[in-house]
Symmetry: C2
Subunit: 305 residues, 2 copies
């Protein structure tokens, strides 16, 4: 029996907790709605503590959270959610209460960076030193691996907020992003679809022109990520991408928009294996949280031995 | 006396060669036009060989070249310029002839990745684990450091070819990029300026409306790079950026376009130190080539000891 880890995937509407060591060893899981920070973190703590009593001690816990997050270990607010518009959650310390409550190392990253790590370790990105994970749902968020490392910098990526061409003659919708109007998220997220067509995307038929337009914007976004990062694979996830007819539309438009400029056979001849759904399905995030925890443990062991 | 290194900066119109170990130790330099691959590589080889005879043996040579390049060591065409439209240069092997002619390790990267490395080692990016270097001239090219490593992936970044919003009512110019029309390079490079206004940018007055429009597009591009990579600094170089009035225009537009979404004081309060010209001036590329060479030597030594 190997070591046990805890994972917390904290989303804007629900939280998933798990104990295990990977996709083939998920011992326990729990789901509950995201309410106040105190109640939500309390439930996560209770679950992990009780599982540790039953299953054995946890070596570390990974947290994959909605953001924006302060991930700078030198910062006074390290481990906190910072300026989220989500009521009650701005300036919430995630790492502190968990570390005090569990007494084990806590690893924190954005939900999308964690999902990218999970896909890299066990899913559609195995063995690739550079990949992008983009989720298209209530918002659009992106994370990735570059040079074998999870992407960080000044803060963390906010790929959903890149600007893309928007022809207002063809698509007069102003965009749904409260910060930028017609950034990628403002044009192609779930709320953008709902605001533009007056019904939720789930209600639109597979042959509704919405999907061609959404694919057009997502392809512009993916093309920009390809030109910027040169990923070895692009993983598209999230509620909107559940409409699987988007994949062939996006792939065709990415190839057409790049117009042969990026001379890689993976794009020119193998686009079906280049732009793909997540290998871990809906579990990229929670498994990514376990992958974060495992990595912390590895680092700790390396330092100690 | 430390070790000596050679550097070659191969541009589309001219080549710069140097021997030394860094910005304070440049022992010899040469410049000549880029003609045929045979003649051009021959002159570079002659220069480095003769300098090695006079100054002492070179430990390694770094090559910072225009691209696109094959940088995959497992590829049969590793070390080659691939699909360039530059006449005579498609499928040119750079590494092979230099390695055979000099008998030392040859490090190759794109001109912009090398410049990013040079700026990281000795210039405006010292101590930063994540930075972007964008050059705006005959084309627009970008490179960078992410997690302390030069950016590579499927190929290398082609940041000049990202798409940005283009309001054809305000700016009916179709764009100058032969591949994409109005990508960033197509809207804001030197040729785009010349084609749109009928004269070279050098002839346009500082208060010509051209600069506000060029700054607008460059700010959209820089904003996209910030949202994607979260760099700790953005270095803007190249002939177009010699017009220093662009810097305050771009900085103001980046702040305004991001609209407070990226909550980092470096952007909100310190933009003048965040978007900057290269610290090494016009020498980022050739010093980057030396930095590439030094890194190769370091790696080789580490393996050997």
């Amino acid at each position: 029996m190997g070591e046990l880890f805890g994972g917390i995937e904290a989303g804007g509407t629900k939280v998933v907790c798990a104990v295990g060591s990977g996709p083939d060893d998920l011992r326990a899981q729990a789901r509950f709605p995201t309410t106040t920070p105190e109640e939500t973190l309390g439930r996560a703590l209770d679950f992990l503590r009780s599982q540790a009593e039953t299953l054995g001690p946890l070596a570390a816990v990974g947290v994959a959270s909605f953001g924006p997050l302060d991930l700078d270990r030198r910062s006074a607010t390290f481990g906190c959610i910072t300026s989220t518009p989500k009521p009650g959650w701005a300036d919430t310390d995630l790492v502190g209460p968990l570390q005090r409550g569990l007494g084990v190392p806590i690893a924190l990253d954005t939900d999308v960076n964690a999902a990218a790590l999970g896909e890299w370790r066990w899913g559609a990105g195995q063995g690739l030193d550079t990949l992008v994970y983009l989720t298209i749902g209530t918002g659009i968020g992106g994370g990735g691996i570059v040079g074998g490392q999870v992407m960080h910098g000044l803060l963390h990526p906010e790929m959903g907020h890149i600007r893309v061409p928007h022809d207002r003659a063809l698509d007069p919708f102003e965009g749904s992003c409260p910060f930028h109007g017609d950034c990628l998220e403002g044009l192609a997220s779930g709320p953008a679809i709902e605001q533009r067509w007056g019904v939720r995307g789930e209600s639109l038929a597979d042959d509704h022109p919405a999907w061609e337009l959404v694919a057009h914007y997502l392809a512009l976004g993916v093309g920009n990520l390809i030109c910027t990062l040169s990923p070895r694979r692009v993983i598209l996830a999230g509620g909107v991408m559940e409409r699987r007819q988007l994949f062939p539309l996006i792939r065709a438009q990415v190839v057409s928009q790049l117009n042969g400029y990026v001379q890689a056979r993976q794009i020119l001849e193998g686009i079906d294996a280049y732009i793909v759904p997540p290998g871990l399905g809906p579990n990229s995030g929670i498994l990514g949280a376990l992958a974060l925890a495992r990595r912390t443990e590895t680092h700790r062991s390396r330092r100690e031995h």
